[in-house]
Symmetry: C4
Subunit: 192 residues, 4 copies
């Protein structure tokens, strides 16, 4: 299977996920500020998730640059990643509508943790079918402190959500900022 169709399909699914989230922004039934207010926390959680999905789209694209052949493992690892990303609108909305209550915030972190893990699994599948430790991708993500730190922060946020909910939110925002800053690893290795 060519990687073009895998890219196109992933792009399609990610474009739908990122756009569908806005559907969860229920149109208020009044026409004044008080009617608009309940939409504000949902809007904030929507912005956060939009940034996360944007980061995934960006990184996913970079990672696929190093792919030459697609096999069954890569295909299903990719569908597995898309699955967890497609659950993001659900937890985004649940967290927003409940004003960042403990359980929804923890579940949001859980879905981020699963997405991050699915991304790592996809990374491993690509590396193992492209020459292992000598592959381009393996060199680019050799220590992967960013990926590992993110997973650790998600796990911490899940636990913290039940005690200091705002700290969990802070962790989610921090991870997003960490990834927003450019990550030159793959580009550097590709240039070499």
């Amino acid at each position: 299977m060519g990687k073009t169709r895998l890219e196109a399909f992933s792009d399609g699914v990610i474009a739908i996920i990122i756009t569908i989230m806005v559907l969860e922004l229920k149109v208020p039934h009044g026409n004044d500020w008080s009617a608009l207010q309940p939409a504000i926390p949902v809007f904030i959680s929507y912005v956060l998730s939009y940034v996360y999905i944007g980061i995934y789209w960006n990184n996913h694209h970079h990672m696929l640059h190093t792919v030459e052949r697609v096999n069954g493992n890569i295909l299903w690892a990719n569908l597995h990643l898309l699955f967890w990303l497609s659950v993001v609108p659900f937890v985004t909305s649940w967290m927003g509508e409940n004003h960042f209550a403990a359980l929804p915030t923890a579940l949001y972190g859980f879905v981020l943790l699963m997405s991050g893990t699915a991304y790592k699994i996809l990374q491993i599948c690509i590396i193992s079918s492209h020459g292992g430790k000598n592959s381009l991708l393996a060199k680019a993500v050799e220590h992967d402190w960013k990926g590992n730190t993110s997973l650790a922060l998600y796990a911490a946020a899940i636990a913290l959500a039940f005690w200091f909910e705002w700290l969990a939110d802070l962790f989610y925002v921090l991870v997003a900022i960490m990834w927003l800053t450019p990550d030159p690893r793959i580009e550097r290795v590709l240039d070499e």
Copy 2:
């Protein structure tokens, strides 16, 4: 008509179907475990259907590899397949929300049966316009025990749903597992 646009259109429709299902996951109105519980069977049925749509996307792509020309028959056989796939979110949701009750489970099997049949019709259309029994695809799917077994299991599950509902669910899961294991037929024939 070139097959590129047929592929792109099918990819688009399948990407939308697989993502739209998550919209059926209604956001709970409370913020504790008890509010989340009703979403669990819907989530399980969503996972099952996600795997099914993923399998169809994968196999559809493999099958189109053998296509050189697209005619009206292939086009409408393809739209017919996409139609039944687009009904999957509806029955998925009905089955999940009713905790795998008899009729919804049977209807779920019926839609899988129609999808499987539509796939077989598309296969026949492609074979008949690409050299019949000597075509690549005909050789690849010569006995097609997987396809036939699936249709038989769907039919059995529809009947069983009214007596031993869990057996119907088991059949759906078994068919999915059967297809998840790699199917080297088309790749092998293409290599030759």
Copy 3:
């Protein structure tokens, strides 16, 4: 502007329209036959509209085969066509939920009439920028009895809906069947 991106965008919009209609199939709240019954007329109207959108996708693709340059007129005529097609799910659902009552059936015909007219406008825009009467497309659709008959039948159905509603439905089905039978005009002219 290249026609590739126009094709890709149109394909995307049409894929979304055809898939979104199924979202209108509300999941019943019971789990027996009586709960399923109200969904049946909606399902029937969904099938009809699915066939219509499929026909438009097919014909749109054929028509664009003859296009070499895209200008502002063609672009907006195309967006105008996509607009009316995107209203189809709304009238489909209204007609289905009201069991083919007079006004919804007439409005359904009105949207089909506007879609057909928009298609004709797009045809005129393409012809006028590709050599007028000598263009490929002009030769292919010289008399266009199919297009004209469809528009006449839609107009008749709108009026009939208020007196003999079933006759309006019959007209919609007849037009669909008329277009389902292969239309070799453009392919023939392209071959020459």
Copy 4:
């Protein structure tokens, strides 16, 4: 990153936004004219937003014609633009359902203002990474009176919405008409 995938992703998101708006057209519960009436203002606001999104798609495509390399800034400026466009269906629907009341009309203008600003930011990012003042795009949009006038009219409409609501609507329509008339700047510069 190649610009092809950026174009394809943007096209996907814009196609979804423009189609999703129609989902906000709630199907009326009766089958006569009085049941249809509440849908009319929503329909009108939908038409207006459809034209706006169509204009953005058109201009976005023109602007990307001048792009040769995509960097992180362009990518996130593009995602930022898509974000504000994806909020359009929400404000469209809120404005329509409240019969063009003051606050929803002002918020509609605010989202248009943010979209226009995001478009300008994307323009600046592209120019600064393609040779600055000597770049193709910089020459094409040198004075950009259209872009600046639009932003000014949006800002005025936001304030006016609370005093003369119909004037705000008029401004939105005027800006749309202004952009509908062909803008030969980029094409002219590209030709040179």
